[in-house]
Amino acid sequence: MPIDCEDQELLEGFLTETTELLEKLDDDLVTLEKTPTDSDLLNRIFRSIHTVKGASSFLGFDLLVRVTHKTEDVLNRLRKGELLVTPEIMDVVLEATDLVKTLVSDIKASEIVDREVDETINKLIPLLSEQAAAQQAPPATDASAEPASAVDTATSAQEEPVSPDQAPQEPQPSPPSTAALPPAVTPPPSGAAKKAAAPKPADKGGDDLSDSSTVRVDVKRLDDLMNQVGELVLERNRMIQLNQDLQGGSSDQILFGEEFGKLTKRMSFVTSELQMQVLKMRMIPVEKVFKKFPRIVRSLSRDLGKEVDLQIFGEETELDRSVVDEIGDPLIHLIRNAMDHGLETPDERMAAGKPRTGTLVLAAVHEGNSIIISIKDDGRGIDTDRVGRKAIEKGLITEEQLAAMSQRDMFDLIFLPGFSTKDKASDLSGRGVGMDVVKTNIKKLNGLIEIKSEKGQGSEFILRLPLTLAIIQSLLVEVEGEVYSIPLSSVLETLRVDQRQFHLVGGQEVLKLRESVLPLIRLEQVFKVQPRSERGDFCYVVVIGAADKRVGLVVSRLVGQQEVAIKSLGNYLANIPGIAGSTILGDGRVTLIVDPVGMIDNGEGAAAGR
């Protein structure tokens, strides 16, 4: 059933606000369980639910009102100290929150499905009548309860509509005069709501509720941006003026050159400022992803019967929203993985001489032009013997390959598609897709993943991601007349080498660099560039590295360093080996960006294959 809402703008405002509140709510509820006496927190939770209730009753979302109303009542009793926070109560409240999310996402998808809400509501009701004396709200459904606050919510639009001093008065019966107001705005689908013939219960907690199609920007940042744009316009006018003078012959060459030089400097200053501003606007704290996790960890630990202490650090670390949107799923996989495979049950932990409660540390930190996210547990660690055996059993590798593997390589086995140490797939894991997906997603972001693990001590998954996907520093190189761009983040050093110093080891060209042997890749061969006739003895080697793997790219000339904006090559040319994308240089020509990770894998493969 499509939603018949007269004011689309109002509805959108409601959705944005509700989504934000609900996102925060999960985190708050889990925190509340740990600190049940925090009355500020409890008040905040109460207000969030109350706001959602008020707004939905104003817009006539009947189901939503029923659920939030009862949840609010329970929270109110918690707030007044008539009930104590227990895991059981929190389970029910969280279930109700999930249901609210599902209902909101229904509204977002502009269809109202008849969902089974009575089940959840029935779980809430006993919490209200347990101490009958203190009963405050009638159990009967009252769709248009609290219209006063509903109107209040709607008129004060986006901001926190309920001030704390107002809150205690709210659960009072509504004056009948205003009670007629909400239905008048939008007739609520009351008949449908009461027939709770649900197609399916609220199973998914509305994971996809948060979306990033809209962005809230600090007005100050926007003002700054406008200032920058203003300056840019001035510089443009100056440029037009200069051009006119030149064309009209009213300016002599020397003066023009001088003026133009100044203009170029100012232009470049303004544009870099502008670039920074826009980049800043796109940056959001990683908290947006992290705040989902306490809830996930809580429910997982209850499901698995494990005791976990989740510690989160560096949630204020900012990174580009395009990256934030993409890392959510891989991180959930890794957390699940740590909970399911890494951490032991309390008994096992006691037996191993560890504290009952396992620790899971989620940390984010900036390092240069990248962000590092690590997920660390103090569980049983990765058993490389077992991993190796399983990989052979599943036919992913051969005995000989395993024998030649370093410990690192064995850790990497868990990323192979189809790999799983579980004999039976459970709800949680064991299908052998998760880690493969993690690796693919991280790779797609131009990121790296690294594993550190010690048997019996725990493991750590380290993700290294670029801060932004839009603009990178790059090294321009020339290969037999063609210019390519190499992301500077993966360039370790550049060398000018005499080609006679190259050695051949099993058909693979290598260079002895200080104490180590560096495999070489000739870009003109990989990219099949037509060789030009003259070829000097000297060439340049660009050493690129990812994690602890290194290869040298042989190029004819280094052109320089430049900040470039990444342009996609489109769907048709999306997957060219060794090419990560393209960019446009100052002279308008297109240059291809080399994919360092692909090159390194390629180089390693070539070296190992021979």
């Binding site: 990989v526 489109g570 769907n571 048709y572």
Partner: protein, 168 residues
Amino acid sequence: MSNALAPMKLDDVHSGEHGKLIQLVSFNLAQEEYGVDVLKVREIIRMPIITRVPNTPNYVEGVINLRGKVIPIIAMRKRFSLADADHDKQTRIMVMDVGGELMGFILDAVSEVIRIASSEIQPSPTVVTSGVDQECIAGIINQAERLLVLLDLEKIFTQDERRLFSNL
């Protein structure tokens, strides 16, 4: 009532006979004349500097910068296995919308925009003069002196090629 209906009927018959008018951009490729739906054509440009893209099929000439957007360029002669010819003053790139993405096609020359009635389009004969794939020929237009091959560039890449592109 019946009076009001009559002209409408006539109109129906009329359009049934001649079909609705469509506009085609006609271009030349190895002495043959081809046409594509004008609505698919975004712009026609002269040859810019093309950046070669390695490890792609030979008919992918490379990519160009179209006002800040990077778009792939397909050499039509190579795609249809026609004899290669040097680019001259007549050579043009026709930027088209293919499956929602912009793509440029190198053509020998672009001649004009013509209007024809859709009824004039005949199904293509089984044997076609040039090396153009049967797949992307939408029909033949026979107008007095000229013979025009109507192309559907949405079908220029076969299923296999699409897979190749995405799995390269």
